[in-house]
Symmetry: C2
Subunit: 143 residues, 2 copies
DNA sequence: AATATTGCTTGCAAATTGAAAGTAATTATA
DNA sequence: TATAATTACTTTCAATTTGCAAGCAATATT
């Protein structure tokens, strides 16, 4: 797979990787919903089809945003984990959640509350660090 | 047009609107490349097709992220301008540019330099405010 | 009055997405 | 140990989206 970039713009180039319906949803599921296995993802609210999931995971792996690992005591279940490059997407996820809370809520009647949003807004950097640290603690003993 | 949201997650709902190849590219072009007219967009480096542009602009208008205005002395040329809801996407654009500078540059050999990136990183909030204020100054006298 | 420009729309081919079913390897259960 | 269930996919095919090219109507320019 050799990805093509549209032009020399850094923002457009980021969107050449992240700009689709599923990539950032998968990152979010890994980062804050503890999704780690193929099955975890298929069971999520977003209900991604297995063929799409398979191709997107492959793509994320090629960009080194995630890595695929095996548990030492289980040859069947693969673990998909965020790399540093993937964890560096946390600020984008955080900004998406703020914008959504303020601008999309009114359009989606079933949108769930974000009780932590005020804490988040009061100190974004601390919140981002907390999410990343929590992820690392949760995953460091898995492999 | 009645948009469908995948689920109750605020982040996924944001991506139901923003998660595609073109939407955030168009926002970026308006916000920092002074693109305002249909022609402006078609002449950009990203070279969007006119039918796609037309449908995306319509979509952005329906979500109240942009507004379409006419110059009083020109009945042909339409101006597309960001609303407050659209300007509130600036932090997302800024985070995309930081992530890209640090993580995509190595993959895209033709990516242009971002000389302002260090200024940006040293005070994100000030940079975001500057972008928004500059946009408002540039556009307030157009209509 | 003739030409060029702007802002689209239409038609069609190519690519992507998605639902459903199938498969192979591994693990759990009777 | 045999059977069933689970996981992680792949395949097939239909539906949707994207993209190129051409066309067109209204307005602006020469």
């Amino acid at each position: 797979m050799n990805h093509k970039f549209r032009c020399a713009c850094p923002i457009t180039s980021a969107l050449d990787i992240l700009g689709d319906k599923w990539i950032l949803v998968i990152i979010k599921q890994m980062l804050i919903e503890d999704k780690r296995t193929f099955k975890d993802f298929t069971e999520s609210d977003e209900a991604i089809a297995t063929n799409i999931l398979s191709s997107k995971l492959k793509c994320l792996e090629e960009f080194d945003i995630i890595t695929k690992k095996q548990l030492p005591d289980n040859k069947k279940t693969n673990l998909y984990l965020l790399t540093e490059k993937g964890l560096a997407l946390t600020p984008i996820i955080v900004e998406l959640s703020i914008w959504s809370d303020e601008n999309v809520r009114a359009l989606n009647s079933i949108m769930r509350d974000s009780p932590e949003i005020e804490v988040l807004k009061s100190d974004k950097n601390a919140f981002i660090k907390m999410i990343i640290d929590t992820y690392k603690v949760k995953t460091e003993n898995l492999i």
